[in-house]
Symmetry: C2
Subunit: 161 residues, 2 copies
């Protein structure tokens, strides 16, 4: 239970963009499809953009698209970006382990490191091309963006058909 909501949302958003496959999606479209609070999503997209994972265009006909092919984006990268170190405990981070008074010879550290390593391995080999291809369900409808009104909650301005 250590993946924050923000990280969760970020991975969902990237997954949606991977499914869109090069097509750009508007912020509110992503929000509606993934059930992310729109105002919160903006914050997240900004961070994704800052990290170079996503490219944006403003104005009407604007939106977001992935900056790299989905196969080149690992889940690990997104999680790292929003979550920080993967180690379950501060004494077992690879980069800057926190000082531990029991350090030399604390057998627990080895186990925490082991958890860190397998977690890392899984997230690293999981990329968004695979995730996109494995996805299915009602919320995956590639054409919906341009064709019909799927979210009649907003914009009741033109009655389709």
């Amino acid at each position: 239970m250590w993946i924050s909501r923000k990280t969760d949302y970020a991975t969902r958003a990237v997954l949606m963009l991977a499914i869109a496959d090069g097509e750009s999606l508007k912020s509110h479209e992503i929000a509606a499809r993934t059930h992310i609070p729109p105002s919160f999503l903006e914050q997240i997209m900004a961070q994704l953009r800052g990290a170079g994972l996503v490219r944006s265009v403003r104005g009407p006909a604007g939106g977001y698209k992935l900056n790299h092919p989905p196969a080149d984006i690992s889940l690990e990268r997104v999680v790292r970006l929003f979550q920080g170190p993967l180690a379950p405990i501060a004494c077992a981070t690879r980069s800057e382990p926190e000082f531990c008074p029991m350090d030399p010879g604390c057998s627990l550290k080895r186990t925490w490191a082991e958890v860190r390593d397998v977690t890392r391995a899984i997230l690293e080999r999981t990329n968004f091309a695979d995730l996109a291809s494995q996805a299915s369900g009602a919320w995956v409808q590639p054409a919906i963006t341009e064709t019909k009104e799927t979210t009649p909650v907003l914009r009741p301005r033109s009655v389709p058909r």
Copy 2:
């Protein structure tokens, strides 16, 4: 970075008791050896006791000891007790998964479950007999409890030798 300080402390305390191997340790002894704030440790010991992991005796010559052989206590059990579910995200808990609007066909869930499973596997096969035997270093000194003054910070009442 999801193991709380409390969980960390709890595992350290149990490890100390496993190293003591049947000998009982007083709360402040455990605290001194593991560098856990003494008042905080009390709270933790109470929880360990409530879960039946530890047995206690009051008064002078009192203290704590393990309620089971160290080999029978898995790291998973202690972590579960203090940390709750092992799944990285609420939608992937085995017991009561949180409702997810993208649920059927969300490929992310599979990966989170995979992380959960390997984490569980590692923590489950790691028991405190092994951890105790693998431990070493200055903070592991079985005889210190009864013999000399190792923590001259407290109790300056009788000058030894």
